[in-house]
C-alpha cells in the first residue's frame, strides 16, 4: 500500500509522532527574578503531552481537515441543521482585536462598543420573533431551551401555581426538547401528530389541565411542516393556564413570514448558528438566545444589556443587568459573544428584505426537491413543506436498501447525507434541508443523484448497501466502539 507523504500521513496521531525534544512553540525568557519554587506537593511529575514541531502541527491538522465534508466543499443538506453558507466577513469582524481581545469583566466604559452591539442584537431578535425581550446568555439551542423552560417554571411558581409538573412535547420533537424539560424538572408528556403532521389537537386537549406547565412546539415542525393548527394549539394551552415554548431552530423558514410572538408563543429560542449563519464549527460554538413576551421577561437569564439614559444630556450608556426575577446566571459570562457578533453582522447585511428572501428561497428550494423526488421516494406528508422535506426510504427498503444506505451512497456522489432516522415518527426518514444559499444547479445535481441511487437500488443493490466506497474510510464498526470504548490514545493502542 502506498504511504501518504510522511508527516502528513494522518494515521499517526500526535503522540505517535512525539519525539523527545521537539518544540512547537518558543516561550519568552523569564524577565523577572524567579520566585521560590512551589511546594512540591503541588508540582506535577510528568506532563504527557506530545512534543512536535510547528510544521508538523500545521501539516497534521491541515491534512486532517481535508478528511471532512463541509459547506465550503460539499452540499450539506443535513435536515434540521440549516447548513447554509457562512459569510467570511462575519468571521473577520469577530476577530477584530476590539472584539476578540476584550475581557468580559473589564469596566463597562471600556466595552461600550461591545455592549451596544449586544443591545442592538437583542432588539433585532426581539423584533424578528415578535417578542418583548431577549437574553443572549445561552450558548446553544438546547441551552436556550433549558433557560426557557426554567422561565416557564419560575413564572408558575411565582404565581403560586406549583402543581404544573408536566411539559407537553410533540412526538416529532428534537431530542433536546424532552431532555431540557427533564433538566427543568418536568415530566414529559408526548403529544402525537395527526395524519397531516400537525399537532393532534384532541390529544393536546386531553393533557391540557392544571398540571400542564406548557408545551414545547417546534415551528415549523421537524417534519418540515407549518402546523396549520398553531393558533388553536396556543389557545388550548393558554386556556388551561399553560405557556407555549417555541423551539425556533427552524426559523430559517419563517424569517419575516410569521412572528412567533404574534402567533401566541410565550417564549422561544433561536439558533444563531443555523438561522443566522454563524459557522457550525464541526459541532459548535452556537448561540441560543431566548426571546419572550412581556410576562416572562422578568425571568430571563442574566445578564441582559440595558441602555441607561442620562436624563441630563440624553446620552445613553450600556450596562449589563439582571432581570428582576431572573432564573439566574446560566453561563460563565454574557453568552457566546463571538457568535453574537457574527449574527449581528449577518442581520445588518441583510435587513428585513434580505431575511424575507432567505425564508422564501429556503422554502422554495425544499419544495423543489420535494416535487422532483416524490414520485420515487415516499412522502409521508404530501403537502407544501417549509425549509426542509422529510422523505421515507420505505420503497427502497422494499428492495433491500435502507435509508441509511441511501444516505451513505450520497457521500460517494459528493453530497453530505441528509439527517437520517429523524424525526422518529417517520419510518426510514431522510430529512433534507437545502437552505437558500444553494444554486439550482446544485439542487438538480442532488436530485439526479438521489434518482440515480434509487435506480441503483434496483440494479446494483450491493453497491448501495456497502456504500460509501470513495471516502477516506468505509463503514465504521460503531458497535464495537460502544462496547469496548477506546476514548483516548494509549501507547499500546498505537498502530
Amino acid at each position: 500500500m502506498l504511504n501518504k507523504g510522511g508527516n502528513r500521513d494522518t494515521t499517526r496521531m500526535l503522540m505517535d509522532r512525539s519525539v523527545s525534544g521537539r518544540v512547537g512553540v518558543i516561550t519568552p525568557e523569564l524577565d523577572v527574578p524567579a520566585a521560590p519554587p512551589l511546594d512540591a506537593a503541588y508540582l506535577r511529575d510528568s506532563l504527557p503531552l506530545p512534543e512536535v514541531s510547528e510544521p508538523e502541527v500545521v501539516q497534521y491538522f491541515t491534512s486532517l481537515s481535508q478528511l471532512n465534508f463541509s459547506i465550503d466543499t460539499h452540499f450539506y443538506p443535513l435536515g434540521s441543521c440549516t447548513m447554509k453558507y457562512n459569510p467570511k466577513v462575519n468571521d473577520e469582524v469577530a476577530f477584530l482585536p476590539g472584539f476578540a481581545g476584550i475581557h468580559p469583566q473589564q469596566p463597562a466604559e471600556q466595552s461600550q462598543g461591545a455592549l451596544e452591539l449586544l443591545y442592538r442584537l437583542q432588539e433585532f431578535l426581539t423584533e424578528v420573533t415578535g417578542m418583548s425581550a431577549t437574553s443572549l446568555a445561552t450558548l446553544a439551542g438546547a441551552h436556550g431551551e433549558l433557560a426557557g423552560v426554567l422561565m416557564m417554571r419560575a413564572y408558575h411558581l411565582a404565581r403560586g401555581d406549583s402543581g404544573r409538573t408536566k411539559m407537553g412535547i410533540p412526538d416529532s420533537a428534537h431530542g433536546t426538547n424532552p431532555a431540557s424539560a427533564a433538566m427543568a424538572g418536568f415530566d414529559v408528556v408526548t403529544i402525537p401528530s395527526d395524519a397531516d403532521g400537525n399537532t393532534d389537537l384532541a390529544a393536546l386537549r386531553e393533557i391540557a389541565g392544571d398540571d400542564l406547565a406548557g408545551v414545547m412546539i417546534t415551528l415549523p415542525s421537524t417534519l418540515g411542516l407549518f402546523d396549520s393548527h398553531i393558533l388553536e394549539v396556543c389557545q388550548v394551552v393558554h386556556e388551561c393556564g399553560g405557556l407555549v415554548y417555541g423551539d425556533g431552530a427552524n426559523m430559517n423558514a419563517l424569517l419575516g413570514r410569521a412572528k412567533l410572538g404574534e402567533l401566541g408563543f410565550d417564549v422561544c429560542h433561536l439558533n444563531l448558528h443555523k438561522t443566522f449563519s454563524t459557522p457550525h464549527g464541526g459541532g459548535g460554538p452556537g448561540a441560543g438566545p431566548v426571546c419572550c413576551g412581556e410576562i416572562l421577561a422578568p425571568y430571563l437569564a442574566a445578564p441582559v444589556v440595558e441602555r441607561v439614559v442620562d436624563p441630563g444630556n440624553g446620552a445613553g450608556e450600556f450596562t449589563l443587568s439582571e432581570p428582576a426575577e431572573s432564573i439566574g446566571k446560566i453561563s460563565g459570562f454574557h453568552g457566546n459573544f463571538g457568535v453574537l457578533v457574527r449574527a449581528y453582522t449577518y442581520i445588518r447585511t441583510l435587513g428585513a428584505a434580505g431575511l424575507q428572501s432567505i425564508s422564501g428561497n429556503a422554502v422554495l428550494n425544499a419544495n423543489y426537491i420535494m416535487h422532483a423526488l416524490k414520485d420515487i421516494y415516499a412522502l409521508p406528508y404530501d403537502r407544501t413543506c417549509m425549509h426542509e422535506v422529510v422523505f421515507s426510504a420505505d420503497r427502497q427498503r422494499e428492495r433491500g436498501v435502507s435509508g441509511l444506505e441511501v444516505a451513505k451512497r450520497l457521500l460517494d456522489y459528493g453530497f453530505h447525507a441528509p439527517t437520517m432516522y429523524f424525526p422518529l415518527i417517520v419510518h426510514e426518514a431522510l430529512m433534507i434541508e437545502p437552505t437558500e444559499s444553494e444554486t439550482k444547479e446544485t439542487l438538480d445535481a442532488f436530485i439526479d443523484a438521489l434518482r440515480a441511487i434509487d435506480a441503483e437500488a434496483t440494479t446494483e443493490p450491493e453497491l448501495v448497501q456497502h456504500a460509501p466506497h470513495s471516502t477516506p474510510v468505509s463503514r465504521l464498526d460503531e458497535a464495537t466502539a460502544a462496547r469496548r470504548p477506546v476514548l483516548r490514545w494509549e501507547p499500546a493502542a498505537a498502530d
Partner: protein, 441 residues
C-alpha cells in the same frame, strides 16, 4: 407580498426562482406560506436597511474601536478569563472551511477530520487533568462544573452538594441555576470547613484549583474526606496551570472540569469558550455530551466515531445524561492545536512564566505602603491585594494610565482586588503597575 432582494448570499435569481416555482406548479413564493394563518403572514420587520460589506466593515470597526483590547496596554484582569499567548497557527488552521463549516460528525466516513481532532482533544485533556476519560462537548467552564454537579448526584443517587466558597461566584450561580429544578441542595461552605461538612447524604463536593482567589486548595484532604463518605470530589481546574501543577486526578478527583479558554481561545468578551470535562472511567456512562471513540472500518482501517450515544438526548431524550447537542467543537479544535504546539515543554514553560511573574508582582506590591496580601499560602497566577482605597477607585486611576487593573473582590476582602499576571505581562508592565499603585496609595 414580500419584495425580492437579491442578496449575494442567495444565488438563485428571480428568474431562476420562477423556474423552480413553475416546476412545482406555483406562481409566487408567497403561495408556499399559505399555511400561515391570514393576518399573521408577512408581518413587517422593523430592522435597519441592509448594508454593503464595505459599510458593515466600517460599522463593526467603529463598534470595535470603542472597546479597549487587553493587548492595548498592561492588563491584570483574570478572574475566569485569561490573557494568554495564542500561536498564530491556531487561527490559521481553525478558520479552514473544512473545519469551520462542517457540523457534528454524524457521518463519520466524511468527518474523520473533526472526529480525529476530538480524539486528540480527549487524549490531551485526560492527560492534563490526570484523568481516565474526557469528553468533548461542554459549553464553558461554568456549565461544565454545573453538569458535573448533576452527574455527581446521578452517580451517587444523592441530592446534596457542597460547594466551597472559593469557587468562582459565577460558577456557583450557574450551579444554582442548573440545580434549581432538580431538588438538589447546594451548600456554599467556607473552603476550610468543607471536609467537616461532608455527610453520607453528600453527593459531591466542589472545589476550584487554583481557586477563584488564586490559591491552591488542599485537594488531597478534600478527596479523602469526600471518599470516606461515598461522595465524589468534583474539581474545576485551570487547564493552563496544569502545565506545572499536580493534576486533580493525582489527588483522587472523580470529575474534573475546567474552562478551556486559556488554551488558545481569545477572551472575546466572554465567549465562545470551551467546557472541559473529564472523569474516572467507571463513570463514563453517566457522562454528559459527546464522546468520540476509536474503531475500525470494513477494511480494517482505524477510524473514529461518536460513541456511547445512548447517553445523549437524540437517543435517550428525557432520560439523557444532558440536553447538550451543539457545543463548542471548533474550540476543542483550537485548544488541540494549542496544546499540540505548546506541547510538554511549552505548556510547562508558559505556566512557570505565569507563576514567577505573578509572584514577582505580588512581592513588589506587598512591599508598597498601604497595600497588603490578605491570603497566605501557595498560589499560581492570581492573588488578592488589599488596597488603601476602594478597588473601583484604584482601577479608575490605573485606567488613567492605560492600565487595566483587577477584579473588585471587596465583598470578601477589605478593599480587595484580584490581580492576575500571566506570561503576557512584561516586567516593564508589572513595574508600571507597581509604581502606579504606589502613586495611588
Amino acid at each position: 407580498m414580500v419584495t425580492n432582494f437579491q442578496s449575494h448570499y442567495i444565488p438563485n435569481t428571480p428568474a431562476e426562482q420562477d423556474d423552480l416555482l413553475a416546476a412545482i406548479g406555483l406562481r409566487n413564493i408567497d403561495e408556499l406560506f399559505a399555511d400561515i394563518p391570514d393576518g399573521y403572514r408577512n408581518p413587517t420587520l422593523e430592522l435597519p436597511a441592509p448594508l454593503s460589506e464595505l459599510e458593515i466593515q466600517r460599522e463593526l470597526n467603529e463598534l470595535a474601536a470603542r472597546n479597549r483590547p487587553l493587548a492595548s496596554g498592561p492588563s491584570f484582569l483574570g478572574a475566569g478569563s485569561y490573557h494568554h499567548f495564542i500561536p498564530s497557527i491556531v487561527k490559521a488552521i481553525m478558520t479552514r472551511g473544512e473545519f469551520l463549516t462542517a457540523y457534528t460528525p454524524y457521518q463519520p466516513e466524511v468527518s474523520q477530520g473533526t472526529l480525529q481532532v476530538i480524539f486528540e482533544f480527549q487524549t490531551m485533556i485526560s492527560a492534563l487533568y490526570g484523568m481516565e476519560v474526557a469528553n468533548a462537548g461542554m459549553y464553558d467552564g461554568a456549565t461544565s462544573v454545573a453538569e458535573a454537579v448533576l452527574m455527581a448526584c446521578r452517580v451517587t443517587r444523592r441530592q446534596q452538594v457542597i460547594v466551597a466558597d472559593t469557587v468562582s461566584p459565577a460558577y456557583r450561580q450557574v450551579i444554582a441555576t442548573y440545580c434549581q429544578a432538580q431538588g438538589i441542595t447546594i451548600d456554599i461552605t467556607p473552603a476550610d470547613q468543607v471536609t467537616g461538612a461532608i455527610t453520607e447524604a453528600t453527593a459531591g463536593i466542589v472545589a476550584q484549583y487554583p481557586n477563584f482567589y488564586g490559591s491552591l486548595e488542599d485537594l488531597q484532604a478534600l478527596g479523602e474526606a469526600a471518599h470516606a463518605d461515598g461522595a465524589l470530589l468534583v474539581v474545576s481546574a485551570d487547564p493552563l496551570a496544569m502545565g506545572m501543577l499536580k493534576p486533580p486526578g493525582e489527588f483522587g478527583a472523580d470529575i474534573v472540569t475546567g474552562e478551556g479558554q486559556p488554551l488558545g481561545i481569545p477572551p472575546s468578551f466572554g465567549g465562545p469558550y470551551l467546557g472541559l470535562f473529564s472523569c474516572k472511567q467507571q463513570y463514563i456512562r453517566q457522562m454528559p455530551s459527546r464522546l468520540v471513540g476509536r474503531t475500525t472500518d470494513t477494511e480494517g482501517r482505524t477510524g473514529y466515531v461518536l460513541t456511547l450515544q445512548t447517553r445523549e438526548q437524540h437517543i435517550r431524550r428525557e432520560r439523557a445524561t444532558s440536553n447538550i447537542c451543539t457545543n463548542e467543537a471548533l474550540y476543542a479544535l483550537a485548544s488541540s492545536i494549542y496544546l499540540a504546539a505548546m506541547g510538554r515543554n511549552g505548556l510547562r514553560q508558559a505556566a512557570e512564566l505565569c507563576y514567577h511573574k505573578a509572584h514577582y508582582a505580588a512581592a513588589e506590591i506587598g512591599k508598597l505602603d498601604g497595600y497588603s496580601l490578605p491570603q497566605s499560602g501557595a498560589f499560581f497566577q492570581e492573588f488578592v491585594v488589599s488596597c488603601p482605597q476602594p478597588p473601583a477607585e484604584v482601577n479608575r486611576r490605573l485606567m488613567e494610565r492605560n492600565i487595566l487593573g483587577g477584579l473588585d473582590v471587596s465583598d470578601r476582602f477589605d478593599n480587595g482586588m484580584l490581580l492576575c499576571v500571566t506570561e503576557m505581562n512584561t516586567r516593564a508592565e508589572i513595574d508600571a503597575l507597581v509604581s502606579a499603585l504606589s502613586e495611588i496609595a
